[in-house]
Subunit: 218 residues, 2 copies
């Protein structure tokens, strides 16, 4: 499948490398055409990888992964532009506010009674935003069996059932067991998964490791 990965940070690199290793054609997108990290990504990954601007990558991908930092996502997607129309936009970002020191809080205008996922969906009503993978360290996103035999939770939310189902299939390809992916409903559930980040950060602080997640017990 042709997949666009927007963002050349650690999340974009991790997701892009995994999808390329799975045989997908990955174009990594960044603000500038010749972004150094994007070129490095293409060099390091065999298979059909390429790089381009946010706009070029978005036009290329059947599915677009938003791996930009939450504080920049809405701006970055503006550069992606009209190519988002009709596309599945997988949003992994968290609206963290580092301006008040550590640990970060959530960006007030993107939290509590709204969320980054919702604001992206509002800004691009013709895209099908699916929120997932934003509740864990990036190493676990693409390799859930690193801990607990892979039996820990991932959430998915979005307004379009078919889009969620396609992303679910991709998550299963990436190593997630279907029974561990909990569908929380429409995109407003992103308030919940993004709002979990402050707790995630405290647990990271208390345990000293980011390689953790949770198994639902019921």
């Amino acid at each position: 499948m042709k997949i666009a990965v927007l963002g050349t940070g650690i999340v974009g690199e991790t997701i892009g490398s995994k999808l390329a290793a799975l045989g997908h054609d990955v174009m990594i997108g960044s603000r500038t055409k010749n972004n150094e990290k994007a070129l490095e990504f293409v060099n390091k990954n065999s298979g059909q990888t390429s790089s381009g601007t946010f706009a070029e990558a978005t036009v290329f991908g059947e599915i677009v992964f938003n791996c930009t930092k939450g504080e920049h996502s809405l701006d970055a997607l503006q550069l992606a532009g009209t190519g988002l129309k009709g596309k599945i936009l997988v949003d992994l970002a968290n609206p963290l506010d580092f301006s008040q020191g550590m640990p970060p809080t959530l960006i007030p205008s993107l939290s509590n009674s709204t969320s980054l996922g919702e604001e992206i969906q509002k800004a691009y009503p013709e895209a099908k935003v699916v929120k997932t993978l934003n509740t864990m360290w990036n190493g676990l996103m693409v390799n859930p069996t690193l801990i607990g035999n892979g039996d820990h939770i991932n959430y998915i939310s979005g307004n379009d059932a078919e889009a969620k189902s396609k992303v679910m299939a991709l998550l299963v390809e990436m190593g997630w067991k279907k029974e561990n992916i909990l569908d929380l409903g429409d995109i407003s559930a992103a308030r919940g998964t993004e709002g979990y980040l402050p707790l995630w950060l405290r647990i990271y602080g208390a345990t000293g490791s980011n390689a953790f997640n949770f198994k639902l017990v019921k």
Copy 2:
């Protein structure tokens, strides 16, 4: 031990009944001296249970449990008054805002860059506030073995190590395994555990059951 339980709602009743069953002397506190639910609580529970105003209960208790609704906690504690001085105040409340419909959001002034736990600590600097038990359905608070052999997580936070240690011992009496109680540090960690509530509510909505919790996988 002499324990005050502030609040006659389902959480106060559940916590008070459990502590009474464990042999503690429980005084349940409410706004008015002859609160119907408080009298009912005393009638239903054998052992040394009694009822009184918030102020009377607070003076009585060596440990005080705040089981009032988060939106009313700061007001209720004002009625508890000077009796809080030097006491361990176990805060179970969540600052949920039901004014915008369901599911609730968090009360903006008590979330993100602060928390109810922190604001209580600020308002009563001579009390030792310990936040715990606020991340699960009340039935699990007092009976963790209801699910998963009791192997699921509870958090504790607060500025006073000795106070946390005493509350930890009480939690163990209530059925919690020590290894499942994660110390997140000072009371500012309440931002994390209270901020998890919106996700809890979405999971409740998606699964249709409130009898769930999480096991830390690492």
